[in-house]
C-alpha cells in the first residue's frame, strides 16, 4: 500500500455520508436545469428539552410516506419515481391501526433498495411495541403525513403550522419524524 492509499485500516475515501446536496446540484445542472436549488439553511436551531421521562411521554410519528392509492400507477415495491402518487396537504391516520404507506413519490435510492418493507420508513408498529413495553408512555392517537413540497413557503407557512396544530390537538410531548 502506498502513502496515497493512506494508513492501513483507513476506510476508502468514498465510504462517507453521501454529499446529496452537491450530487443533486451537479445532476440537475448536467440535465440542463440552470439555477441550483436553494436548500433550507439556518444558523440558529431551536431546542425543546423533554419535560418528563420518555416512559410518561405521548409520542407522535410523522412520515413523508403516502397512503397507497389504487389507480395512481406503480407504487412499489421496486416502482420507478411516481409523481402521480404524491400528496399535497397534511393528512393523519389512526395510530392504532395498520396502514399501507408507500414511498414511490419520493427520491429514494432505487438502485440499492426496493421499498418492499414499510417498516424501514414507517416505524409505527415498532413504536407501538415500545409503548407496550413501557419504553414510551404511549403512541399519540394519530400519526401525520407531511407533504414534500418543493416550495419552502408552502412547507413553512402552511404545512408546518398544520402539523403543529394536529400534534397540539393530540397533546403530544414529542415527535419522531422519519424521512425518506
Amino acid at each position: 500500500m502506498s502513502e496515497r492509499d493512506g494508513y492501513p485500516g483507513f476506510a476508502p475515501e468514498h465510504d462517507a455520508p453521501i454529499p446529496y446536496m452537491q450530487r443533486i446540484r451537479d445532476y440537475y445542472w448536467a440535465l440542463g436545469y440552470g439555477a441550483p436549488y436553494r436548500w433550507a439553511h439556518y444558523a440558529e436551531v431551536p431546542f425543546q428539552p423533554l419535560q418528563k421521562p420518555l416512559s410518561r411521554c405521548r409520542i407522535a410519528l410523522i412520515t413523508t410516506a403516502a397512503p397507497y392509492q389504487p389507480g395512481k400507477g406503480d407504487q412499489g415495491p421496486g416502482a420507478p419515481y411516481n409523481a402521480a402518487a404524491k400528496f399535497y396537504t397534511v393528512y393523519s391516520g389512526d395510530a392504532a391501526a395498520d396502514h399501507d404507506l408507500r414511498i414511490s413519490h419520493v427520491a429514494i435510492d432505487r438502485a440499492h433498495t426496493t421499498a418492499e418493507d414499510c417498516n424501514t420508513w414507517f416505524p409505527l408498529p415498532q413504536l407501538r411495541r415500545c409503548a407496550a413495553a413501557g419504553r414510551i408512555g404511549e403512541v399519540a392517537p394519530r400519526f401525520h403525513g407531511a407533504p414534500t413540497n418543493r416550495s419552502h413557503r408552502t412547507t413553512i407557512e402552511r404545512d408546518c403550522p398544520e402539523l403543529l396544530a394536529r400534534c397540539r390537538a393530540d397533546a403530544v410531548d414529542a415527535a419522531v419524524l422519519a424521512a425518506n
Binding site: 436548500w39 425543546q48 403543529l164
Partner: protein, 131 residues
C-alpha cells in the same frame, strides 16, 4: 426534498414546545437545515428506520432514536447509527452521480423528469383525496 421537509417540521415543533427526533439517511441536508436531534443511518434513502426484512435492525434503530430524543445535551445533536448497509461501500457512488451516466441516459432522465413534473403539476391542481 423529503429530508428537508421533516427538518423544517421538526424545527417548527421545537420552536413551539414539542421535542423532536429526526430519523434519516441524508446527513448533509438535515444538518444544513439544522435540527435539534438527528439519528443518521448511513443507508440508501428509504431506510431511515432500519434494514428491510430485519426486525432486529428496525428495533435497534428506533431504540437508538429514542435514546437520542431523551439524552441529547444541545441542539444539532447528530448520532450516527453503527449499523452498516453493506461491508462494501461502493453503493454510495451511484446515487444521482452524473459521472456514471452516459449522454443517452442523461437525455432519457431529462425527458422523464419533465414528464413527472407535468404529472405533479396536474396532481397539485386536483382536489385532494388524502386528508
Amino acid at each position: 426534498m423529503c429530508h428537508q421537509t421533516v427538518s423544517l417540521a421538526a424545527r417548527h415543533l421545537e420552536e413551539n414546545g414539542i421535542a423532536t427526533i429526526v430519523m434519516g439517511c441524508a446527513k448533509d441536508i438535515v444538518e444544513h437545515c439544522g435540527v435539534a436531534r438527528f439519528l443518521f443511518s448511513d443507508f440508501p434513502l428509504g431506510n431511515a428506520a432500519g434494514r428491510p426484512k430485519d426486525p432486529q435492525s428496525q428495533a435497534f434503530t428506533l431504540e437508538l432514536a429514542l435514546r437520542v430524543l431523551e439524552s441529547a445535551p444541545a441542539p444539532r445533536t447528530t448520532v450516527q447509527s453503527p449499523l452498516r448497509w453493506s461491508p462494501d461501500a461502493s453503493w454510495k457512488l451511484d446515487y444521482s452521480n452524473i459521472d456514471r451516466l452516459s449522454p443517452e441516459e442523461i437525455r432519457r432522465r431529462r425527458d422523464e423528469f419533465d414528464r413527472q413534473k407535468e404529472i405533479a403539476k396536474m396532481g397539485r391542481d386536483e382536489p385532494q383525496a388524502a386528508r
